[in-house]
Symmetry: C2
Subunit: 329 residues, 2 copies
């Protein structure tokens, strides 16, 4: 098997970690983590290095000079980016450099549920600017959306044993809870990305990768059955969600954007409008993982719920939970 | 043959006229021209009526209440819009109404060369807002881009016999003149649109329809050969075109946008970058008319040049030429 050099931006993030794992598991990639000079000796990067990943120093921001980025990527074939939601613009000089360096596939930071551009979601719209720049450059790309994570779909139990999966300390049901949405185990994302990165059918395409379709009401019933606990339903209406969105000033990009506006916009999109489905993805021109990899094995949602209830599922977003808790005080 | 009710917005424009002709020629459409109340008895609309087209009064602007538009479109199956470059936003309430009215295919006002969104061209970006709105609504659509018109590709001859085809009174060559660009006879556009409107393969797709690929240098040589005249070459560099773009204040939408910025951005896109090609269209996810209708007959560019030199080709944009001439004074 030929080894392909792939650069990963944001390897320390939730999605980035899944991607690194998926690439390692695939076995045919030489992985280079592009890392801020200040992060180079952080425990996370030392752990990556111990797993055979090359840690390469490269500062990256929206104001980086593209020419300065070329040396750090000129030996790479593929770049996979997964950076913080509000840092998307840092990919603009990176994409320019990638074009100049002859990168064969650029996988920008998508990894959200299926949503249209143009006002549905602030984070989707920040990504759109990057996608437009990539297309203007004619850089070969794959845009990978992933549905909604299993890890963000678990309701609060009276016993508290799912609390580690509650980003905001509570769980809510969008609308009437009967809207189907594509769910994916965060840990499977990297497996999909590792395949897509080498798949010609995914070149210059939007791809939805997902495991299973669930409504929130179905999820709550499943978790009640598996836990033996009664779960309180906090239904949040479309109007209430729209009020939350309106409560954050237009154009603001701060912690309230991430903790108030973004969650409400997500719930409106996947929970009320029902955007996060393979049908809507196909309407928007996506191909789905079910079409590309019908045989692929993935973790089922029921198995995940059992893992969570046994306390065996890794938790997520430790840092972000602290930030959100601080912002709520 | 079943008759399909199709509403045409902007039937009096250059592209709209071609579309009406194409629909009439196809023979299976009942055509309803949605027309401003103030235009209802203009000669153009009387001429349409005499050809069997139903003239239906409907005012339309960016601030129209969508509910007020539904009665005028509720009996239609298809809506084809072709409105003035700076009036694109009027399609936003129209699309909302079209969704509510159950319109089966909405063909918004595209009809430009292949260009990416996001800063390449002011007129393309105005359309992007409409496309995003359509997608947010999940309205079935076809976006039809048409390359660059034959009618705008004819150089100025010393004899003056092509002057009627010079929108700005002169002819210029973008860059070195060696960039291939997809050219289409304005009169063929309607034939393509009439097919696409009923073609399931075009549902929710971007389509590039075009006749032939030509560079400007090839066009000049052809016209010299056919006319027997020597043509002066006015090469305009990338830098000069960029200066023209920069000379129009960001965000302005007026006659200088149409007469200075838009032409310079078009020349940069199709003449310098080479965006207006089937290859780039496919990269952007388009299907092309050559794939959909390989057998379709169209007017060749050489035949068009002969028509022009004989004085037999209909001229274009009579009103706009006057506006531009006035603005240049």
């Amino acid at each position: 098997m030929t080894t392909i050099k792939v650069g990963v931006v944001g390897a320390s993030g939730e999605t980035g970690s899944s991607i690194v794992n998926g690439l390692l598991e695939a076995g045919n990639f030489e992985i280079i983590a592009l890392t801020r000079p200040t992060s180079i000796s952080k425990p996370f990067n030392l752990a990556l290095a111990s797993r055979g990943i090359i840690i390469r120093e490269q500062d990256l921001s929206a104001t980086s000079d593209p020419a300065s980025l070329i040396p750090a990527i000129s030996d790479l074939t593929i770049i996979i980016s997964s950076i913080a939601p509000l840092d998307q613009a840092a990919q603009i000089p990176l994409a320019t450099a990638a074009k100049a360096a002859g990168i064969k596939r650029f996988i920008p930071c998508a990894y959200v549920p299926v949503m249209p551009a143009g006002g549905t979601h602030i984070l989707r719209d920040l990504k759109e600017q990057v996608y437009n720049h990539i297309k203007t450059l004619r850089l070969p790309f794959t845009i990978v959306d992933v549905g909604w994570w299993y890890q963000l779909s678990i309701p609060k139990l009276p016993s508290g044993r799912t609390d580690e999966f509650l980003l905001m300390g509570k769980s809510e049901i969008a609308g009437d809870g009967n809207v189907s949405s594509a769910l994916t185990d965060l840990r499977d994302i990297g497996k999909y990305v590792a395949r897509l990165a080498m798949d010609e059918r995914a070149e210059n395409r939007y791809v939805l990768v997902y495991n299973e379709m669930w409504t929130q009401n179905e999820v709550y019933k499943l978790v009640e059955k598996e836990s033996g606990e009664q779960i309180e339903r906090n239904y949040v209406s479309k109007e209430e969600l729209e009020e939350r969105v309106a409560s954050v000033p237009e154009g603001s990009l701060d912690v309230t954007t991430l903790s108030v506006k973004a969650p409400a916009q997500y719930m409106l999109s996947w929970g009320v409008k029902g955007d996060n489905t393979p049908e809507y993805a196909k309407y928007l021109g996506y191909v789905t993982s079910k079409e590309l990899y019908p045989e692929m094995e993935f973790n089922g949602f029921e198995a995940f719920v059992k893992e969570v209830l046994k306390g065996e599922a890794p938790t997520i977003y430790e840092e972000l939970k602290k930030q959100f808790a601080a912002a709520q005080k």
